[in-house]
Amino acid sequence: MPIIETQAIHKIYPNGVHANDDINFEVEHGEIHALVGENGAGKTTLMKLIFGMEHPTSGRILFRGEEVEIENPQDAIEHGIGMVHQNFMLVNSFSVAQNIILNRETMQGISIDMQQAIDDTAALSQEYGLAVNPTAKIEDIPVGMRQRVEILKALYRGAEILILDEPTAVLTPSETQDLFAAVRNLVEGGKTVIFITHKLKEVIAISDRVTVMRDARVIGTVKTAETDERELARMMVGREVFMQVDRPPVERGGSVLEVSDLTYADDSGHQLLKHISFHVYENEILGIAGVEGNGQTELAEVLTGLRPPTTGEAFINEEQILGRGPRSVREHQVAHIPEDRLTNGVALASTIDDNLIIDRYYREPFTRRGLLDINAIEDNGRELIREFNIIAPSGAIPVNALSGGNMQKVVVARELSSSPKLLIAAQPTRGVDIGAIEFIHQELVDQRTNGLAILLISADLQEVMKLSDRIMVMYEGEIVGVFPNDDSLTEERIGYYMLGAERQDAAEMERYA
């Protein structure tokens, strides 16, 4: 008997979007069940229905063979269902332990027994092999750990079935491996896991069965052992997907960005960037490889004017751009895909149209004679929604009605359409489906072929290797190696540099800088 089953589920959102269309979905006890599908296919929606955050328009949800009404997440938790969301929902100013025990506090008189909370957290963390620091504040810990906190939080509430919505989108490869180990561990302990992802490799690596969704319907459920990436991709997209990008060789042009001796220390004096110097050239994608948290984020933010550099300079076509704020950087035709779209890539409550003009609203044709031209703004929105295949009924809806991947497409659409000379792209394909990855990758490569200089930052080493003409490795705020991306370069070799086990000397680095 399946532990969870949905029968003929329909979900129509109040704005008319039919997000789940006759869904029959079964999860067996003790399995790892992967759920895949393009952006906006309705995966998150289905999970929200099971978790009681949304209610089905019609249809039944069965739990251990019995029909249940799940009114709200509380009900779901009582049934032993836990969910880790695509977008985390932790209280940033609380500590890890506080977040985990939230609403389940052991009281000591009128105050919460913090020691108890810390001990519980540590014990739980030990038990499931999910390392966290109980006393750290959420805002100070890396995403990988935040995710482990989310999982522990669900387990603390007695989850038997754990729904993980795109857990790996924000993880580095090694964190992903750790997560997989933990998930396997959970299943051995008798739990059931539903796992949403866009990465088919992961599906193959971890799941027992896969359900594929497309356009709000279930296309099919197959045993992982009896399928492969190609077939899954075809089921998802409805056509053959070529996961290779076509990167024609081009002669690189002149230097667009020159960074010279850049250092950056945060408020507490930690040196996060140390004497960084490099060039990015026309017709070139320079990929930065590195384990997340080695200064890549800071580098992107300093270069785009979001943080002031401590010392050093950066030039675009001979003009110094640092220290003058984001507007000035953008005026130099620099575009930026930020690494976390929810923090600063979009304004959730604003419309898609408004989100698509943040870099250009003050210029013609969007502002004419001091007034916004609504038609121009709507045309811009319509145009980009079409061109970048953003699934949305119109540009007038707020971004928070979009699926995660479509939000990312909004960001990418805006940045690529700003006719930049330099694009700083941090995690450009985070959370988007394979069709869209293919599209974004091709778009990046095409623009590079047409002259754009791209600085690509990605936690996904394969992505870096697939797209880049040159690869630079960062380790602890320093550049430890620069390589042309030719056949001789292997993931393994880069891996040594990423872990700080090897570094080039100055002369070697000079050769390819």
Partner: protein
């Protein structure tokens, strides 16, 4: 949205607007054309009512389904208010058993001469039943009188005067305490013809009773017990009267209507001021201080320009009050933007400073030396906003408001600065990332909202009071917060919200005046309304702003859309 639905919405909005315009005009003039055309400047009354209709139109078109929710909230608030009033009236039904009374034994016979009796024939005695706040309230009386065999007596127990509503009963008892006769009421004939002292039929009379023997008898009287049904009906009727005053009071006569409109103008201006800063997610409460500065500046100019023609001086005053508000908004704006000072705290402090400064200037500079109380004395006529409806203080400020609403809309929805305000209100980090100069935007949003608050001050000074007095704003500024929230921070809906809210405010005054509802009760009803309105509006606004897409309540996205988060 399809073209069909858009058209439907426009038609619906237009019809609602028209209906309201007609209803108000009709009620004001009792549906009589003669009465209307006999009213001076009736054209302007109609014009203003048309503008009110336009506010309704905007309300429907802008909030769409949200409009129904707003209306439902108001209706629920009113029903709750009705229930509270009803309960209070129930309680005060006790006053039917409360009040001054008189008793009398009427007889033409010679009285027996017995010592120590309480009543003599034809002598009036009385007291107060159930007087509140006394240690031992009188709830019944048993007074003895002496009577001879065959004496024909009439026993009366009655309310002392028409206004006291006590409804007594009366009994005649003999020495052993046996009831010989009793009565709870009188006939109309008895009241009108026989007994001059009786005031109405609820008074009790035992008429023409022949005493069976010599002896002392007892007249026993107490308030009649009321049937529960009677109490209910009574309370219900009272409540109805009160609510009629609340709901129709403000549009019953031109002068009352004027009170409503002038109050609404102030509230709309302040509401707009809050809508602008709240849009930028700046929790500035500085409108109060900006209002005082606006009023002070316009008052000072008015007092010093007795001979400048209106056409010249009024624009100058307008400009000056706006500038004063601008500057007084710029200060907390700059403090926030460049020093990170919390705007909530700084504006509250600045409010204190502004009122203090206003009082001081008023006291030491502007007040005529010989004046008995703290006020400037009336402004010269040329500096007062021209009245457009006679017998009211409805001035050209009506048009000023219409223009200000238009410009606020233009600012928020059609200018780059407005875009910046909306974006920093939606996600400050996103604005920074996109290159918006968020410091400048924060500062300007606060300063521009100050301009509108400054206008409100000018309207109070030169339109309503026509002089500067202490406590000019009467904390009106904070009611503007409710208006802005009610309008979901949508500047096009603020006029409706201001009208609605001030309608309830003014209506409550009439309820107090016309229906004898106690002031506390009126305040309570107002509080219920405010509470529900704000709760509902806050829920909607927070839903619209929720930062995590994935934890949204069902359907909120549409809600945000409907709330005009565009």
């Amino acid at each position: 949205m399809t073209a069909f639905r858009t058209h439907l919405l426009l038609i619906l909005g237009g019809l609602s607007g028209l209906a309201v315009t007609l209803f108000i005009t009709n009620t004001m003039f009792d549906g009589s054309i003669e009465k209307m055309s006999a009213t001076p400047t009736w054209q302007n009354v109609v014009l203003v009512n048309v503008l009110i209709g336009a506010c309704i139109f905007l309300f429907v078109v802008e909030l769409r389904r949200g409009a129904i929710r707003v209306l439902l909230t108001v209706v629920v608030a009113l029903i709750l208010g009705f229930l509270v009033t009803f309960v209070f009236n129930l309680d005060s039904s006790l006053r039917f058993t409360r009040g001054e009374f008189r008793v009398q034994v009427v007889s033409e016979a010679e009285a027996l001469d017995v010592d120590g009796v309480d009543l003599e024939y034809n002598r009036v005695r009385g007291g107060h039943f159930n007087k509140p706040n006394v240690v031992e309230p009188v709830s019944e009386v048993a007074w003895s009188f002496a009577g001879g065999e065959g004496d024909v007596v009439s026993l009366l127990a009655y309310a002392k005067n028409k206004r006291s509503s006590v409804d007594p009963l009366v009994e005649l008892r003999d020495e052993s305490g046996a009831v010989l006769a009793s009565a709870t009421s009188a006939t109309v004939a008895q009241v009108e013809e026989r007994f001059d002292d009786l005031v109405r039929v609820t008074d009790a009379v035992i008429a023409d009773f022949q005493l069976p023997a010599d002896g002392t008898y007892t007249l026993y009287a107490r308030p009649e017990e009321l049937a529960t049904g009677t109490i209910m009906t009574e309370a219900f009727q009272q409540t109805n009267v009160a609510f009629e005053a609340l709901l129709l009071g403000p549009i019953q006569r031109v002068n009352r209507w004027g009170a409503w409109i002038q109050d609404a103008i102030t509230l709309i201006l302040i509401g707009l001021s809050f809508a602008i800063v709240f849009r930028a997610e700046q929790f500035s409460l500085g409108a109060e201080g900006q209002l005082y500065f606006g009023a002070l500046v316009s008052g000072a100019i008015a007092l010093n320009s007795p001979n400048v023609p209106s056409i010249l001086i009024i624009p100058i005053i307008l400009l000056a009050s706006g500038t004063a508000g601008f500057i007084y908004g710029l200060i907390p704006g700059a403090l926030k933007a460049y020093l990170g000072a919390n705007e909530l705290v700084s504006t509250l402090m600045l409010n204190v400073i502004a009122t203090g400064f206003f009082d001081m200037v008023l006291y030491f500079q502007l007040r005529p030396i010989d004046s008995a109380y703290v006020a400037t004395g009336k402004f010269p006529a040329n500096t007062v906003l021209p009245v457009i409806v006679e017998r009211t203080q409805v001035t050209i400020a009506v048009f000023l408001v219409a223009i200000v609403v238009f410009f606020c809309w233009l600012l928020i929805r059609r200018t780059p600065l407005g875009y910046e305000i909306r974006i920093i209100g939606s996600n400050l980090k996103f604005a920074d990332y996109g290159g918006v100069n968020s410091r400048r935007t924060i500062m300007l949003s606060m300063a521009l909202s100050g301009v509108v608050a400054g206008f409100a001050g000018m309207h109070l000074a030169n339109g309503i009071y026509r002089e500067l007095i202490l406590d000019l704003s009467l904390a009106l500024a904070f009611e503007g917060v409710v208006v802005a929230l009610l309008a979901r921070l949508n500047v096009l809906v603020v006029p409706f919200a201001g009208l609605l809210y001030s309608y309830l405010r003014v209506g409550a005054q009439f309820m107090e005046r016309d229906a004898n509802a106690s002031f506390e009760l009126v305040r309570m009803i107002q509080a219920i309304i405010i509470l529900l309105i704000t709760a509902e509006a806050l829920v909607t606004i927070f839903q619209g702003r929720q930062k995590r897409a994935d934890i949204d309540e069902k359907g909120h996205a549409v809600e945000a859309l409907e709330a005009g988060d565009v």
